[in-house]
């Protein structure tokens, strides 16, 4: 069984670290301590961490912190980052205003006036 999903595994207690107040996700201002604590709260996957703390849900969409968060969670669980299921990828890939996101070119109209 994938050790990430074996939640009966004992990962030990949360031990405060000297760099716990260091910001990891800049967009949502989430610290290393919060991420580590979240693992001890039972958030063992990146999807859970993301929903619990909103890491990687800000303007850069995890471009900067995705890898960092993954490393912190993996270390806390005592596994290699490669073992951790990556967070789900979803549309839209880039931050986008709702106004634009909702502004679909109607299906019947030929898109791309730039060409014809």
């Amino acid at each position: 069984m994938n050790s990430v999903n074996d939640r009966s595994r004992d990962i030990g207690p949360f031990l405060p670290g000297p760099d716990d107040d260091m910001i990891i996700c800049r967009c949502e201002e989430i610290t290393k301590g919060e991420i580590r604590q979240a693992v001890h709260d039972g958030m063992w996957t990146l999807t859970e961490i993301r929903r619990y703390l909103r890491t990687g849900m800000g303007l850069c969409q995890g471009q900067t912190c995705g890898r960092l968060v993954k490393g912190i969670v993996a270390r806390e669980l005592g596994i290699s980052p490669a073992e951790l299921e990556p967070a789900t990828s979803r549309v839209p890939m880039r931050p986008i205003e709702m106004e634009v996101f909702a502004n679909e070119v109607p299906e019947e109209k030929e898109v791309g006036s730039y060409e014809d």
Binding site: I96, E104, Y114
Partner: protein, 525 residues
């Protein structure tokens, strides 16, 4: 919904190459790119590329970008800029944000060539303004003409860290230190050497303790780390800097592929999460291909070949070419790519400590620890020979896939042979005519023309010089050693610049003859 034969995401080296190849075979091809300019990272690359002639070696990156754009235009590739692909759905539906609206396209085939994003490392103060990625520094300098800072510390000794350090110096920034937590320089030795000889100190097995400043970076402290990457107390060093550049690797931007349902794998050797694909870019989804860094971090020359492969594979998938044609074209590209993936820095050697060259010569440890070949290590390499009169001294000491030097010399003084990674040798009995083509033609700036004894107690050294403005003839200054420290007095006796040198000026300095093999850079005083 508009349909194309082929939709390519990303107009970098691999995406454009894929588009050119596919359009030439008759596919109606579009390339979307979120940036306002095409070319990906190519237009930031002002240095000459390594490789062989067929890989466009010794051509500067931005020129390769221009060439690709022209070829794409000729082939009829539609390149759409400011077009952000925000989703890849089933049946190869591509959703694009353009202007203020969302457009949907269908591709009969899709090639994802989205490249990679820079990694970050954290340390106290890493969120201060002034801590930037090396790629950001390059964008500021080479695309926008903005100086990133005045005094810079570079973290990362891979090729990106080394190349950007040199470019920062070319822009007039002072690089106060090049730092890497690894115990050895990660990038090409020749890139390290050209940075070291300008006087940049290397701190291997060191990393950043903290960045200082309240509103922006005003300083940085580094310290040595042990084998477990723990700081060693008492080894702290402080630098006043306004900029900290991070060149700590790249991660593939593969999210579109995951979203589309491609089988993915987390492969640290490839830089992170990448799609599972065959050697020609076919993913687990029929008709969806990948090329370039998104499939595993490499460099631009191999990305261009991978792009062409994916373009050819897509053309066959859609029936524009037959299987035989595809296979013969792919076979020659396989060979080219294989050629690039040879030598000490080949993907299969990543993380390995190599102690000997292919020729059985001991690798320079000083180069790996301090960024330059030590005086007592130099003589063992086959490019370093001595004779009366002007002759080339080739300080190329690692097996990398690169051979422009042997074509540069029309007199046949330099030979690499059929194996592209072999160290260059100076051919015995050959006659150097002091033309300088080898000095300008070496992408690693590792060739010097030396006259060890001019008969009057002096020697001359001709070196590649890519700083502006070049000093005038008669300028007096110091000859700098490979470590960037002043070793002797020097006077500029000639400055040559020719179209064939492609913006590399050749500086000839006169030094006392005992420094003929030591002085490798010039600094006016």
């Amino acid at each position: 919904m508009k349909r194309y034969d082929l939709i390519i995401v990303g107009a970098g080296p691999s995406g454009l190459s894929a588009g050119i190849e596919a359009a030439k075979k008759g596919l109606r091809t579009v390339v979307f790119d979120e940036n306002e300019k095409p070319g990906g990272q190519l237009f930031k690359q002002i240095h000459k590329f390594f490789g062989s002639k067929e890989h466009r070696a010794k051509v500067r990156g931005y020129v390769i970008g221009q060439q690709l754009l022209e070829e794409a235009d000729e082939a009829g590739v539609e390149v759409v800029l400011n077009a952000t692909v925000i989703g890849l759905y089933q049946d190869k539906e591509v959703v694009v944000k353009r202007g203020g609206q969302i457009e949907h396209y269908k591709g009969n085939a899709v090639i994802i060539a989205t490249g990679a994003a820079e990694n970050m490392v954290t340390f106290p103060g890493w969120t201060l303004p002034g801590v930037i990625g090396a790629g950001a520094a390059q964008t500021m300098m080479n695309l926008h003409g903005v100086l990133p800072g005045k005094r810079v510390l570079m973290l990362g000794s891979g090729n990106v860290g080394l190349v950007v350090s040199f470019q920062l110096e070319q822009c007039g920034c002072e690089v106060v230190a090049l730092v890497d937590a690894a115990p050895r320089v990660g990038g090409y030795g020749v890139h390290a050497a050209k940075v070291a000889r300008t006087g940049v100190p290397f701190y291997l097995s060191h990393t950043i303790v903290e960045a200082e400043g309240t509103d922006c970076v005003t300083g940085v402290t580094i310290a040595e780390v042990d084998n477990a990457f723990h700081f060693i107390p008492g080894t702290e060093k402080h630098f006043d800097v306004d900029t900290i550049c991070l060149a700590v690797g790249l991660s593939p931007m593969s999210q579109l592929l995951k979203m589309a349902g491609c089988k993915m794998v987390d492969d640290p050797k490839k830089g992170g999460q990448v799609p599972v694909c065959d050697p020609h870019g076919r993913t687990s989804l029929p008709g969806v291909y990948v090329a370039g860094d998104v499939a595993g971090i490499e460099e631009a020359s191999s990305a261009m070949i991978e792009g062409r492969m994916a373009g050819i594979a897509a053309a066959e998938f859609l029936g524009y070419i037959g299987k035989d044609e595809m296979e013969s074209e792919l076979a020659s590209l396989d060979k080219a790519l294989d050629g690039l993936r040879q030598g000490m820095f080949a993907p299969q050697n990543r993380g390995k400590q190599i102690t000997e060259t292919e020729e059985g010569i001991e690798v320079s440890q000083n180069l790996l620890l301090h960024g330059y070949v030590a005086d007592d290590e130099l003589e063992r390499y086959p490019g370093v020979t001595h004779k009366a009169g002007v002759h080339p001294v080739i300080e190329c000491t690692q097996n990398i896939p690169c051979n422009p030097c042997q074509d540069a010399c029309k007199k046949g003084c330099i030979s690499i042979g059929s194996k592209i990674t072999s160290l260059p040798i100076v051919v015995e009995g050959s006659e150097c005519i002091n033309c300088g083509m080898c000095v300008a033609g070496c992408s690693g700036q590792a060739i010097f023309l030396v006259d060890e004894d001019c008969g009057d107690g002096t020697a001359t050294v001709t070196l590649p010089y890519e700083f502006l403005p070049p000093p005038e003839v008669g300028t007096r200054g110091k000859g700098l050693g490979r470590d960037g420290k002043a070793v002797c007095d020097a006077e500029v006796v000639s400055v040559k610049s020719m179209k064939a040198f492609d913006k590399t000026n050749l500086l000839t300095i006169r030094v006392p003859k005992e420094y003929a093999m030591k002085a490798r850079f010039f600094k006016a005083v």
